[in-house]
């Protein structure tokens, strides 16, 4: 987990190790001849983060099912191999944290991991205990990012998270919401609290965040993580029956997942999207959206209107 602001020796070693691991796992480099993976700087530090991360809601909640855990570990391995870094989870996601911990151990803790988790408990005093339990599940020395899940008791949790950041026990602090809920309160937090990240729902159909949250994030220099990029897969199922438009090739998209993800990550305020999947071929497609050309404003409008008609 590199220190964000500058290219340190540790960052360099980590990156070289990651590249080495990837070359062992696959003949091609993560870029695979596609050029470098697209990244966005975290505004508060300048640290570059690949624009596609990995969510774990539903897909990684497989309990203690051994083969299913192995399959999730394979998804994680492919994600890292393709150049991904940020994995996001929450204590609310059932066994997902433990499954991520299992996968990380199996992959020998890839150094490029950017570990993002949440605190989700109504009692502020029990927050540190929950965070510690989450950390044990992941088996990481510390989280890179800790977010207050769905703004639950944020007034109580944020002081704890800021104190942890000051003590070097977490690198970034944020808040989350989903499906357009409580945006006025999210705005309030963004305006009044020194948070590094905000996580909201944003995709080609759910665009409420464009009105106020995304402009405010740019103004306040807050990184934005976009959840539910495919509306829990429903959006992909909606468009799957339609042929991929010819213009998709103009932005180097080979499938609908990449079109939908490129729409999200091409917004200038967005730092990364976090699609969740339990399939290796899908994670490969998803991270593929972080390569090649991104749509310009005209193309973004075209994607949104096309998806709306489907």
């Amino acid at each position: 987990m590199p220190n964000g602001s500058t290219l340190t020796r540790r960052t360099l070693i980590s990156s070289l190790a990651a590249a080495g691991a990837a070359s062992v796992l696959r003949p091609l480099s993560p870029a695979g001849g596609r050029g470098p993976i697209a990244t966005r700087p975290i505004p508060s530090s300048g640290e570059a983060l690949p624009v596609v991360g990995l969510g774990s809601w539903i897909t990684f909640n497989v309990g203690d099912d051994g083969p299913a855990r192995d399959s999730c570990a394979q998804v994680m391995g492919t994600f890292f191999q393709e150049g991904g870094r940020l994995i996001d989870s929450s204590p609310m996601y059932g066994s997902s944290q433990e499954v991520i911990g299992y996968g990380l151990a199996k992959l020998r803790h890839p150094p490029q991991l950017f570990a993002a988790d949440k605190v989700w408990i109504s009692s502020g005093s029990r927050g540190p205990e929950q965070i510690e339990e989450s950390r044990r599940h992941w088996s990481v020395p510390r989280f890179d990012l800790l977010q207050v899940h769905n703004l639950m008791s944020w007034e109580e949790h944020l002081p704890t998270l800021f104190a942890m950041k000051k003590a070097g026990r977490v690198r970034y602090v944020g808040v989350t919401t989903s499906e357009g809920r409580r945006h006025p309160e999210v705005e309030k937090v963004m305006r009044t609290q020194p948070i590094d990240f905000v996580q909201v729902t944003y995709n080609a159909l759910d665009r409420e965040a464009e009105d106020r949250i995304l402009p405010l994030a740019r103004e306040r220099r807050i990184a934005v993580i976009c959840n539910r990029p495919f509306r829990q897969g429903a959006l992909i199922r909606e468009v799957a029956g339609s042929p991929l438009p010819g213009w998709a090739a103009e932005i180097d998209c080979a499938n609908w997942a990449q079109v939908l993800l490129k729409f999200i990550v091409s917004h200038p305020a967005v730092t990364c999207a976090i699609p969740a999947t339990s399939r290796v071929d899908h994670v490969r497609q998803n991270v593929g959206a972080a390569y090649g050309r991104l749509p310009d404003e005209a193309m973004r409008r075209r994607i949104a209107s096309h998806v709306q008609t489907l």
Binding site: W57, I58, T59, N61, V62, G63, D64, D65, A68, M92, Y93, G94, S95, E179, G180, R181, R182, Q232, S278
Partner: protein
């Protein structure tokens, strides 16, 4: 939960249908051959229903209580809790049902049975048809749900037996099984499961029959009090 009106069934989904079905497969494998014992106990209840015996109420209540306790511990607390935090509350609820069955049916002996087609049909459905329907809708046979082992057939069978209970409707015993049918149905619906209708229909039928029986009894009491 703020803005609760914006939440839909999809929001309660926290695992995939494949993971949920696989849970029963792992459960069945872990507890084998408890299924054989459970089905034998189910058949014993059926045999007791056909034979007048003063002790049968107590015996049936004891068997049901054992089944509810087993599901509470082996399924909810041990297995389902790996997928959802809410399973620990389900475990307590199933444990509470076992205690109420023991108290009312075994200790106080307040559970006796009479003949009834609807109750018997629902009981036999839960015991024999429920596990057979599941492979027909594409579920692996290793993942079937068996009475006394899995929550849905246990709840539906209990509701069928409670329809056969003599006297007033035993709402204090039916409340948790009815609630479970609603929760299980909603969980399955959120994942668009083809078998979501089983607990929902089972619970709804028993609710309608029990309510109409309660209303009929109340009317009869009113008529008899007017006559006297």
């Amino acid at each position: 939960m703020s803005e609760w009106w914006t939440y839909t069934l999809a929001d309660i989904k926290s695992f995939t249908l494949a993971t949920y079905y696989r849970l029963f497969e792992l459960h069945n494998r872990a507890i084998w051959p408890a299924q054989v014992v459970a089905v034998a106990l189910g058949l014993a209840i059926f045999a007791l229903l056909r034979r007048p015996d003063v002790r049968r109420g107590r015996i049936i209540a004891a068997i049901l209580a054992a089944c509810w306790l087993f599901v509470a511990v082996a399924f909810h607390a041990h297995r389902y809790a790996t997928l959802t935090w809410s399973a620990r509350y389900y475990a307590w609820a199933f444990g509470a049902e076992a205690v109420v069955l023991l108290w009312s049916g075994v200790v106080r002996g307040r559970l006796s049975f009479e003949r009834g087609a609807a109750g018997l049909a629902i009981y036999l459905f839960a015991l024999a048809a429920h596990p057979l329907i599941e492979p027909l809708i594409g579920r692996r046979w290793q993942a079937i749900e068996v009475f006394g082992i899995a929550p849905d057939p246990t709840a539906i069978a209990t509701l069928g037996l409670l329809l056969l209970a003599a006297g007033r409707v035993r709402w204090e015993l039916a409340a948790i099984p009815l609630l479970w049918c609603a929760i299980s149905g909603a969980t399955l619906l959120s994942m668009k499961a083809p078998d979501a209708g089983i607990p929902l229909a089972g619970g709804a039928i028993v609710l309608v029959l029990s309510t109409s029986r309660t209303l009929r009894r109340r009317r009869n009491v009113e008529v008899s009090s007017v006559k006297t």
